[in-house]
């Protein structure tokens, strides 16, 4: 699903609530029918979230960041998986460079890999194409297509409809905090 909307309509807030980063003032959040609070750790492992902030440790290299977060999520082969994924994104030459030296686009690639690496059942991506060149966009779309084939539920928030278009997403709009279906 692609979620569009004007600035300040609440798209990022919605994504942060769905990722469990933020607690909603009212209502409930369920995953596969179970309230998320009841099994918070398992729910979080099932959700991959990427947003405006990189959610990385700037003093670590991409491989160190990805291995660390992979291990926290319970992935035993975190390092090998990280290597493969960095290679797909063309990041192997930079795998051992601390990310604080990266450009915006390179940082975005690593941030996306952090969200994607555990093959979560839910993906929440807020402006994932920001800073990505054409190659990066194509690789991300390939990842998202594979995720869709695995049955992953994906929500992409983006102003850049052209880049999402190849995925043929269902489009919804957010207006003043409310999600509306838009054909």
């Amino acid at each position: 699903m692609l979620l569009v909307g004007a600035n300040g309509s609440g798209k990022t807030t919605l994504a942060r609530i769905m990722s469990t980063m933020l607690r909603a003032d009212r209502g409930s959040l369920t995953l596969n029918g179970d309230p998320v609070e009841k099994r918070l750790i398992q729910s979080r492992r099932a959700i991959g979230f990427a947003s405006h902030r990189p959610f990385l440790y700037m003093g670590l290299t991409p491989i160190e960041n990805l291995e660390f977060f992979g291990r926290l999520s319970g992935l035993k082969d975190a390092r090998a998986r990280a290597s493969r994924q960095l290679d797909r994104f063309g990041m192997t030459p930079f795998a051992n460079t601390p990310v604080d030296r990266f450009s915006r686009g390179m940082l975005q690639r690593v941030a996306l890999l952090r969200a994607l690496q555990g093959e979560p059942s839910v993906l929440l991506l807020d402006e994932p194409y920001a800073g990505l060149d054409d190659d990066g966009t194509a690789t991300l779309n390939a990842f998202l297509e594979e995720a869709r084939n695995r049955g992953t539920a994906t929500l992409v928030i983006s102003h850049d409809r052209d880049r999402v278009a190849p995925l043929r997403p269902r489009v919804c709009a957010m207006r003043a905090g409310t999600v509306e279906d838009r054909p």
């Binding site: 980063m21 959610f55 990385l56 440790y57 700037m58 160190e64 660390f68 926290l72």
Partner: protein
């Protein structure tokens, strides 16, 4: 083994931040110097003045270390990512406590010889016991400090608030550390003040137990 990964991550980050480590080291040495001037040039009771200097310097330098560890979590959202990865909160706490303990231990190794030399106290025979006292004190400092630092994240003037909260809580540990170190340097034994070992151990266990109970609440309280 989650906590080991958290410790390794923290140690890597500290090791690569040479400017901060150098600043921390210089700050600790400056404190030792200032207190040496305050007590000197003729020291009335070198063993007592040296142990007071050692532990006062460690406390304030340690606050900087704890706040820096906090900063590393909040810049660019690394700490939030740890929550989002579904890591067990107590393992995260333990990992950060271990890394804080090791950082404080490194500071201790820097400050101890300086205090010993400036005040002309101590001998190698009691060094293992002094190290044991330090381990007991720094475990408590790391345990309570990591919990309070997590509470204080996002607060304005958090170094001040951390000092206001942490120092009074740690008083039993700090008094014990000063008295035990003083006794070792003055008399070569801890016998007259042995009871302080129990108090310090109880405080250490209390800190770790409180965190086991409350760290998840603290971690989630940011939002």
């Amino acid at each position: 083994m989650t906590f080991l990964w958290v410790t390794l991550k923290d140690l890597r980050l500290h090791a690569r931040d040479f400017r901060f480590l150098a600043t921390l080291g210089l700050f600790s040495l400056s404190l030792v110097l200032i207190l040496s001037f305050a007590f000197g040039p003729i020291f009335q009771e070198p063993a007592r003045e040296a142990s007071a200097t050692l532990w006062a310097s460690l406390f304030f330098a340690g606050i900087l270390g704890l706040t820096r560890a906090l900063d590393l979590e909040s810049e660019s959202g690394g700490g939030d990512a740890v929550r989002l990865a579904g890591a067990d909160p107590y393992s995260v706490y333990l990992g950060k406590t271990v890394s804080s303990f090791l950082l404080l231990g490194a500071l201790f190794c820097l400050v101890l010889p300086c205090a010993a030399v400036f005040f002309d106290v101590g001998n190698l025979a009691v060094l293992p016991q002094v190290a044991g006292v330090a381990a007991l004190a720094l475990i408590g400092y790391a345990a309570w400090g990591t919990l309070f630092a997590a509470l204080a994240r996002g607060l304005k003037a958090r170094e001040l608030l951390l000092s206001v909260l942490l120092f009074p809580t740690l008083i039993p540990i700090w008094i014990g550390a000063v008295k035990l170190t003083h006794s070792l340097w003055a008399d070569g034994t801890i016998e007259p003040v042995r009871d302080w070992l129990k108090i310090m151990a109880v405080m250490d266990v209390l800190g770790l137990a409180m965190a086991a109970w409350l760290f998840e609440v603290v971690q989630e309280a940011g939002e």
